[in-house]
Assembly symmetry: C2
């Protein structure tokens, strides 16, 4: 490797429905687009080397670490942790972030196991109680960040504020914004609406007037597609349902469209003429383009790719990993948390309050 | 009016963004489609009579009751109740269901005020703790019912079961199904996933093996568009977010499609040729077709139309009201609740348990 500043991504090569075949093909795509990337590949050495035979450039940019086992896609988190700790490709890829061998880790393995291992290996940040998974959401204005999309069910006001800051930091890193707008997902925009936790978080965000995020207020489900704000914050149950509902609706409309366009000869002819436009539309709706859930709140970045992603999809998750590492997401999150606590001034942090040792 | 069995709908003629102009035009459309409908119109008599001048057939099928006031679209529920009880067009239209003058009541007025008045006037059914709003959801298989989409935030296991039975009864009334399938919205289909309340409700629904509904298990956000089950049950916060997220996604894709089709000459030509297909698609995605949230769990049926609905949209809500009344929704709900409590056998109902007077 040269002296030029590189970005190193650890990959759980065995993760996902297809294993090295797809994860390494994805890495090869990302390497072509971002030649400064280096990879540390974890998994069955024989299987990996066999696939690398077809990707000579990737082989040059990669280090391979053999792992004796990989985590099954249907393994329970507790079981995965018990059996796969210290030795599975999933664990080892996460650990590479802890040891500093890589700046970010990517796996298409099962979400529950990945989150359990990431929490166990990297631990949550001192100021953060619970991690979140952030998703990139395509909108009419471009892209937004939505979190939490399923790491934890329920969130109190302080956790929603933590999510706001972490999502804000990610928007700064990914979109290059100075002070991204943040909205709390609710069932109405009036201040009296919604869950107590959401209203309390709204009040605190408004009062604290943070340096790095601009609190917009409440947003509703239809604001997600509009892109009303850069970051939409909610707890994991609602966020997960919203994400899957949007994916489902997009597929549903795609099916309607295909059905309509194949129904008459005129429609078929129209389709052929407008094929460029339809391709553009398909491209825009392509879920592979926004593949990658970012685990936030841990001492290191882990990215989860869809298990069923193909090479192009997995490459999107690697591109995202590259951006997160390149723009120093971890530093930005730490700075935002610091800023929040400075601003809240004499109020003790939760941990201080709990241990009874508040200091100004 | 003749001796033929008619369906009578009470209308808050003043509700919605446009008032009598739209609500009465909607009634005229429904009357044409369903000539057995009769209307009781509540609101400013002068304004109503003026619009009726343009709809002679509707005038013949209607009775007008003058009301001195109407509820503002932005009125707070408590304020609406204080000022509008006994005298507003919204209240009077609901009261017509209580007195038996109408079988069902429809308003495009504000949701919070309508729910507050409906609860106050009709009261919740003896076995039901909290009402729900049910929405019709277009799916790839046809239509499903989703509830609660915003009446109450949070729901315990028993409330989710109540929602299952009420939604099931509505599916029997509306879709003519013998034993509709019911799914609980969750963030995974495995039994260990999700909120405690959802898992507990799932366990009880499975055990009780109800006569009138077929419990399917957990469903996820993307099952909504697929139409995996006839009835999807969730608490009001998540349901509201899911509904608005789907609406937002549909609009977003519509915008992408318009943009793509107007971008090049070929695309425009293709659009012209395939116009029939596009019209079909627009028709399929037309939110006006599925307008109408049904309030369930009260001693009478109240239907909420979108405030911004046009005449065609308001007519869809009236058509829905007609179907609900025609197929004796209230009787079906009562039968389902009875069946559930019979089946649960010696277990006391919540009310009995609370009052300490359990009887088998």
């Amino acid at each position: 490797m040269s002296d030029v500043k590189t970005t190193t991504i650890a990959i759980d090569a065995m993760g996902g429905d297809f294993g090295p075949e797809v994860t390494l093909a994805g890495a090869a795509i990302t390497l072509e687009r971002r030649p400064d990337t280096r990879f540390v590949l974890f998994g069955d050495e024989t299987a990996i080397e066999k696939v690398l035979d077809g990707h000579p450039a990737l082989r040059k940019a990669s280090v391979v670490h053999h792992c004796e086992m990989s985590i099954a896609m249907d393994a329970k988190p507790s079981q995965a942790l018990r059996q796969g700790r210290q030795r599975s490709s999933m664990w080892k890829a996460i650990e590479a972030v802890k040891t500093g061998e890589a700046q970010v880790s990517v796996s298409a393995g099962n979400t529950g196991a990945l989150m359990a291992m990431a929490k166990f290996c990297l631990r949550t940040m001192a100021e953060i109680e619970r991690p979140a998974i952030a998703a990139i959401w395509p909108t009419l204005r471009g892209e937004s960040i939505v979190l939490d999309v399923g790491a934890t069910i329920g969130a109190d006001a302080q956790q929603l504020i933590d999510f706001s800051m972490m999502g804000g930091a990610m928007a700064r890193a990914l979109f290059g914004l100075e002070r991204p707008t943040v909205g709390l997902l609710n069932i109405g925009v009036e201040e009296v609406k919604g869950q107590d936790e959401v209203r309390e978080a709204g009040r605190l965000l408004k009062e604290s007037n943070l340096e790095h995020i601009q609190y917009h207020g409440f947003v509703e489900g239809d604001d997600l597609g509009k892109g009303t704000v850069d970051v939409v914050v909610t707890e994991g149950f609602t966020g997960n349902v919203a994400l899957k509902t949007a994916e489902g609706t997009a597929k549903q409309i795609g099916a309607y469209l295909r059905e309509a366009m194949s129904r008459t000869i005129l429609a078929k002819l129209g389709y052929i003429l407008a094929k460029g436009a339809f391709d553009r539309l398909r491209d825009k709706m392509d879920p592979r383009k926004v593949n990658g859930g970012v685990f936030l709140g841990l001492n290191g970045i882990v990215i989860k790719s869809h298990g069923g992603a193909d090479a192009e999809g997995f490459a999107a998750a690697l591109d995202l990993a590259h951006a997160m590492a390149r723009h120093e997401l971890m530093d930005k999150i730490a700075a935002d948390l610091q800023s929040f606590h400075d601003r809240m001034g004499s109020e003790p942090t939760r941990q201080e309050a709990e241990s009874g040792s508040a200091s100004a």
